[in-house]
């Protein structure tokens, strides 16, 4: 069937690079997501923002990918920030405890302007 293909676009916004996610985050998203993460973390930023504003659907495999990304980020001591989640996916980030490890912002502007290091578990 026709799906809304996943895309991850990196914007080198300083000091917090942004990974703009769009489409559906499922098993097909893995490669593009990891590629975007390594590109965005090349400059060794303190924090990275995952912008979910363009994401239409995310399943449990997608959540597993985010967990994997979070594990990589923690190894590299990069704080992961999140913006653009719908109420529904905020709820899911909360019950999976992902939001204990990532700061959730309403939008990109507030996420990149924040000095950071809040709610790190």
């Amino acid at each position: 069937m026709v799906t809304n293909a996943f895309q991850a676009r990196v914007r080198e916004r300083q000091p917090v690079p942004v990974i703009e996610l769009s489409g559906e985050i499922n098993s097909t998203a893995e490669e593009a997501l990891n590629l975007a993460f390594s590109r965005a973390s090349e400059s060794g930023p303190k924090a990275l923002l995952l912008n979910f504003a363009g994401v239409s659907y995310m399943n449990s495999t997608g959540i597993a990918l985010i967990v994997g990304l979070l594990a990589q980020a923690r190894k590299k001591h990069i704080e992961l920030r999140v913006s653009g989640l719908t109420e529904h996916y905020r709820h899911i980030f909360s019950i999976t405890r992902l939001s204990d490890f990532m700061s959730i912002y309403d939008d990109e502007a507030s996420a990149v302007s924040d000095a950071g290091q809040q709610s790190q578990a």
Binding site: M1, T3, I63, A64, A71, R74, E87, H88, T96, L98
Partner: protein
């Protein structure tokens, strides 16, 4: 001899176009009427001359005067009625070859005074006759259009056990191209079409009649409304006049289950009345007759006991009131939400339109209304009491959970609020993925069966695989710390998510198939957190 030429009133006075009956008779010379343009100074002169005018001695730079002279006119007697020049009496030379005498001139002036009012009356009579003929022609066309229209609309709505069907057609003075139809199909199903052809009058009525016939033909052979519209579009395209097209919504109702499958070619979206409000039944597609090769989509909804569907045409929502406001969709949706359970919904809507519309102007466009109301005495109940909203299969192929989500979403429309609908969608997606992956091992030929039903105060989505004897694993809380530390796989969120999305999770197995039931309370306060 002489000729009275009168100035045509219908076409203004730019030309002296109306000819009197001037069949030549032997022995007399006939003077032809002369064209005199409106701005010819001769007219202004004649208007004020106050009597017989001698053409030969007149000095005036006037094209009309030259023509009169060429024709051998000697005298012109203006016909003045109430100060208005309405015609001329043109005279050639006297047959006796003598000059016109003073007596002749007095006689002519006298005559003109009497003739002028008579010519005026004749002009008015002729003008009215022409107008009456035009009116008659228009009325005749209207009668033909109305006749075509009404002959092709069903005389009455069919009667269907457990349902109340009704239709109403209110033509505008200038008949538009609205149509509707009920088509009895095999197995007691009913085809329902409602549409609107662009344009008005006879052309629209003819296109409407042929569209309806093509739909009737296609409906008997094809069981999918989308296929019916595709076929109608392809047949209509070569024959429809340019710049004309038809919007149409076509549906098939199964009166036993209440399942309404619908497809749309650019028509207004019907409203489904539910206890939770009026829901727009969304579906889009190109109008019929514009482009060949168009495809359409089927959508479906279950009309439950006590619910009803209202179909309508533009004439309703685009009617204006005295303040030039449109009746509009929000007003109609609110009306259906408030009174959609009334058996006389059509009368409710018609009354609302009448109260709204500007009385000072004619009804602007045809108004067509069709309602399907399912009676409270329930048909189509399940064994355990309740309604089967949908049952379908999806092939076990990666990504197909999206099909399951979309189909479930369509049939539960209006049952859950937005947040709970999102949770249901996630739960359906995860349950279907689990069934396809762990149960059916992604064998495309082994489908997942999904059944959506309501029983009393619960909505239940049952997802069944064919896993064999393997037990369904228990949902456990994944350990995020362990996953982040690399001690656990990052995966394994499916069942945990499902459990957190639903109000209740039930599992069962018959040794061959596993079923996971996603249960949502339909009463207030059933929060899934």
């Amino acid at each position: 001899m002489a000729l009275i030429q009168s100035f045509g009133r219908l076409i203004g006075r730019s030309r002296t176009a109306e000819r009197t009956d001037s069949a030549p008779r032997s022995g007399t010379s006939i003077v032809e009427p002369v064209d005199i343009t409106e701005n010819d100074p001769l007219l202004a002169y004649l208007q004020t001359s106050g009597g017989v005018v001698d053409i030969e001695t007149l000095t005036l730079d006037s094209p009309g005067l030259s023509v009169l002279r060429e024709r051998g006119i000697k005298l012109v007697v203006p016909l003045i009625n109430q100060g208005e020049l309405i015609g001329l009496l043109n005279l050639g030379p006297r047959l006796s070859e003598q000059e016109y005498s003073a007596d002749d001139r007095r006689l002519l002036e006298n005559l003109a005074r009497h003739v002028a009012p008579a010519v005026m009356v004749a002009q008015l009579v002729r003008q009215q006759e022409t107008e009456a003929r035009n009116r008659e022609r228009i009325e005749q066309e209207l009668r033909v259009a109305t006749l075509i229209q009404q002959n092709f609309l069903p005389k009455e709505a069919p009667s269907l056990d457990g349902w109340h069907l009704a239709a109403h057609y209110q033509p505008a003075r200038e008949v538009g191209g609205d149509f509707y139809d009920f088509i009895g199909l095999d197995d007691g199903r009913l085809g329902i079409g409602i549409g609107d052809v662009t344009d008005k009058g006879v052309p629209a009525a003819l296109v409407m009649a042929s569209t309806r016939s093509i739909i009737r033909g296609a409906a008997q052979r094809l069981s999918s409304p989308a296929e019916v519209l595709r076929r109608v579009n392809d047949l209509l395209c070569p024959d429809i006049p340019p710049n004309m097209f038809a919007t149409c919504m076509y549906c098939i109702l199964d009166p036993v289950s209440g399942r309404l499958v619908y497809s749309n070619a650019g028509h207004n979206l019907p409203y489904l009345y539910t206890t939770g409000g009026a829901i727009e039944l969304r579906a889009t597609g190109m109008p019929l007759g514009l482009l060949p090769g168009m495809s359409y989509d089927d959508h479906e909804v279950i009309v439950k006991p006590g619910e009803s569907v209202l179909f309508y045409s533009d004439g309703l929502v685009e009617a204006h009131n005295a303040d030039h406001e449109m009746f509009g969709f929000p007003r109609l949706q609110e009306l259906v939400a408030q009174q959609g359970d009334r058996k006389d919904l059509i009368a409710v809507v018609s009354d609302a339109l009448e109260a709204f519309a500007n009385k000072a102007i004619d009804q602007e466009d045809d108004v067509t209304l069709v309602t399907l109301a399912r009676e409270m005495t329930d048909g189509g109940t399940l064994d355990g009491g309740g309604d089967l909203l949908s049952e379908f299969e999806v092939a076990s192929e990666p990504g197909n959970e999206r099909i399951a989500i979309e189909r479930v979403e369509t049939v539960v429309v209006g049952l859950l609020d937005e947040a709970r609908l999102e949770r249901l969608k996630t739960a359906v997606g995860e349950a279907t993925m689990n069934a396809m992956e762990h149960g059916n091992k992604y064998q495309a030929g082994v489908p997942v069966v999904i059944r959506v039903q309501t029983t009393g105060d619960e909505l239940i989505v049952a997802v069944t695989d064919s896993a064999g004897a393997e037990p369904i694993p228990e949902a456990t809380t994944p350990d995020l710390d362990a996953k982040l530390a690399g001690l656990q796989t990052p995966r394994g969120w499916g069942l945990f998510l499902i459990e957190n999305m639903v109000d209740e999770l039930r599992t069962s197995s018959d040794g061959v198939r596993h079923t996971i039931e996603l249960v949502f309370a339909l009463k207030e306060g059933g929060d899934g957190d």
